[in-house]
């Protein structure tokens, strides 16, 4: 029974992907997409009730439960948003029914790949899953087949593949390090076995392996020197995919990195992974927040904001310790919810206005008050103003690290403030000022956006004790 729950998380998206390839009619398939995503979400919730048994290939512990539930929840809400989004795209003829069939199948394949990456106990399997997730998103980013979309997809494909290749090299090195201790064969790639024996691994080999893994999976996380694919992929793909990319796929890559960090932490002779992650995180925060000032495309702007927030999260996990890990985990959850809500709003706004250019959008709070104020609330949340959840998680990140590394924290705070200025400056003209562009009311589904924002607001005011103890357990696990 318990193993069934675990495999159901993988089987439901896989079967629905196959069904969605076969079934015609976009209304029905959009509904099926929602139903499948909802079923996966419900199944993932049941992980808390039944205690699944971890095997050689699949694994469930406190850490990935958090990731799985977050992933399946946001994929579900995104599928609801996607249903209303694509209806508009079909009407204006940007997507044809054939492409839509492909789109839905890819959506479920992506869910499958992300869930597989999260439950994999085998570092080889995890790598395969991340690779599949990359390829499906590449295809979806290029789906509009415009010049820009193709360039974005190509760039994403090339940089993503290079990152993935480096990660595989790192994975092979980990196996090489493990082989003398745990023996040849499958055991050398099973994560639970690796962690148990990591103390005896050759530290020098582990160091080199981690550098490759950090560069490889770090490319997928969108850390600063390796981020070049991220803004293009977010800006040119369909908006539901931007929401999934920012809200989920970046987290999945980060999860892979955290697993290896836990392994290195066991080996005392190996380099501490923390400082490397802290450095890359800080570079990302500063770089991305400065880049926010020159943006002209609204989706691209929020993509840079994602880089900034991934930087904050990586910084928190790099600092380590129960408090900083807790803050990082909370920040990751809040960022996923807020950023996808923002993309839901931005998607509908771009459809109403027929453009993504910031200069061509204006006075939203007058022309489309619900969407406009929804986005405004999202922006207030994402820049970290109280009383929303991100304020609290950013506050926790800063307060838990300040005593240990005051200078680094000062740099982080500086980055956050620069980003706040940049986002508010750019969004001001979009929200207020003279109305520009078409003012037709949006045929939008507001439920996903406001559900996310309500959750973020709630987390900012009151964190349920169950959630706090759950996150504390995970934070301890992360070391």
């Amino acid at each position: 029974m318990s193993i069934d729950v675990l495999s159901a998380i993988l089987v439901i998206p896989a079967v629905s992907a196959a069904l969605l390839v076969i079934l015609p009619g976009y209304r029905q398939t959009a509904k099926l997409n929602v139903v499948a995503a909802f079923a996966t979400f419900l199944t993932s919730l049941s992980l808390f009730v039944v205690e699944p048994v971890s095997g050689q290939y699949l694994l469930v512990d406190d850490l990935n439960k958090v990731f799985i539930v977050l992933t399946t929840f946001v994929s579900f809400t995104t599928s609801v948003f996607s249903a209303s989004y694509i209806q508009h795209e079909i009407e204006i003829g940007r997507l044809t029914p054939t492409f839509l069939r492909f789109y839905h199948a890819m959506y479920q394949t992506l869910m499958f790949a992300m869930n597989l990456a999260l439950v994999a106990n085998n570092i080889g399997l995890m790598w395969v899953a991340v690779e599949v997730a990359t390829l499906t998103t590449v295809l979806m980013v290029g789906i509009y087949r415009t010049h820009e979309a193709l360039e974005a997809a190509w760039k994403y494909f090339i940089l993503g593949s290079v990152g993935i290749a480096l990660a595989l090299f790192g994975t092979i090195l980990v196996y090489m390090a493990a082989r003398p201790v745990v023996g040849e064969g499958l055991d050398g790639m099973v994560w639970t076995v690796l962690v148990k024996h990591a103390a005896q691994f050759d530290p020098a080999l582990l160091n080199v392996a981690f550098v490759f893994l950090l560069l490889g999976y770090g490319t997928k996380v969108g850390l600063a020197p390796l981020h070049a694919w991220l803004p293009d992929a977010h800006a040119e793909g369909p908006t539901p995919i931007s929401a999934v990319l920012s809200g989920l796929l970046l987290n999945v890559a980060l999860y892979a990195l955290l697993r290896f960090k836990m392994m290195l932490a066991v080996n005392l002779a190996a380099i501490a992974p923390g400082p490397l992650m802290v450095t890359m995180g800080l570079i990302s925060v500063i770089f991305a927040s400065l880049m926010l000032y020159r943006r002209r495309d609204i989706k691209r702007m929020f993509a840079y904001s994602s880089i900034e927030h991934m930087g904050i999260i990586v910084f928190a996990f790099g600092m380590g310790g129960p408090l900083a890990n807790f803050a990082g985990l909370l920040h990751m959850t809040m960022h996923s919810l807020t950023k996808s809500a923002i993309f839901f709003a931005v998607g509908h706004i771009a459809q109403v206005k027929g453009t993504q250019k910031i200069a061509d959008i204006g006075g939203l709070t007058v022309t489309n008050p619900v969407l406009g104020w929804g986005l405004m609330l999202g922006v207030i949340a994402i820049v970290g103003l109280p009383p929303l959840g991100i304020f609290m998680s950013e506050f926790l990140v800063v307060s838990s690290t300040f005593a240990r590394a005051p200078w680094l924290t000062v740099i982080l705070v500086l980055g956050i403030i620069i980003a706040l200025g940049g986002l508010l400056l750019r969004i001001g003209s979009v929200m207020f000022g003279e109305p520009k562009g078409p003012t037709a009311p949006a045929e939008a589904s507001y439920v996903p956006m406001f559900t996310h924002l309500a959750l973020v607001l709630m987390a900012g005011l009151y964190l349920p004790p169950v959630l706090v103890t759950g996150f504390q357990n995970v934070a301890k696990l992360l070391g």
Binding site: E148, L150, L173, P180, G185, M189, L205
Partner: protein
């Protein structure tokens, strides 16, 4: 392991690095593809030799995939694509050949220094294999960054994956999962690339990445 077995493995892995170097200075697409076919052929030999030395029959499958798929099918298919696209002209290198070669030599030296230093405990064959594999991976990256043409970037990427296969087979007893996945990912990657090339052809007059760069998402 006898010294002859070691020498042959060494020779084959070294030849792979040499083939990577040859790819660096090819300035015509057809020539680049031919060298890539040789590259994949050498990889197949090297993997087969590892299979024999390690007495791991499943590695023969990997060798066969390398031979049939990478050394024959892909180069032939890319030949035809190039012909259909009508782009069998010169490849423009971003920096000069001399400089590229110097950078390549530097990268090989770097990977030798890094890998040989951190693996004193491992057996000699695995050590040298890893060092060569890292060289091939880094040279593949170098090929990718010095080319602007989409097809040659893909070829660079495939040579990089060859380096990964070399590393995976050199790590004795690595589970089959990985070998299959590598082969499988190459297959998927190729499908993706195929679609991309055709779409790019649909939309652009050339597959020159500089032409793509003109359509940057954000025009200033």
């Amino acid at each position: 392991m006898s010294s002859l077995q070691f020498d042959i493995a060494h020779l084959l892995a070294g030849s792979l690095v040499l083939a990577s170097f040859m790819m660096l200075y090819q300035d015509r697409l057809y020539a680049l593809l031919n060298v890539y076919a040789v590259h994949a052929g050498v990889l197949a030999l090297s993997v087969a030799w590892q299979a024999y030395v390690q007495q791991a029959p499943h590695l023969y499958v990997t060798a066969l995939i390398a031979l049939v798929f990478k050394a024959i099918i892909i180069p032939v298919a890319l030949h035809r694509i190039i012909k259909r696209l009508g782009i069998h002209r010169e490849i423009e290198n971003v920096i000069g050949i001399g400089l590229t070669m110097m950078a390549g030599i530097g990268l090989v030296a770097l990977s030798m220094v890094v890998m040989l230093r951190v693996t004193p405990g491992a057996d000699a064959l695995a050590r040298e294999d890893l060092a060569f594999a890292l060289s091939v991976v880094l040279l593949g990256l170098l090929i990718m960054v010095t080319r602007r043409n989409a097809v040659s970037q893909v070829v660079g990427f495939m040579s990089l994956e060859n380096g990964l296969v070399l590393a995976a087979t050199g790590a004795k007893g690595m589970p089959l999962v990985v070998e299959i996945s590598v082969a499988f990912s190459v297959l998927i990657a190729f499908i993706v690339i195929g679609i991309f090339l055709f779409r790019i052809r649909e939309r652009f007059d050339s597959v020159d990445m500089q032409a793509l760069d003109r359509f940057r998402g954000e025009r200033r």
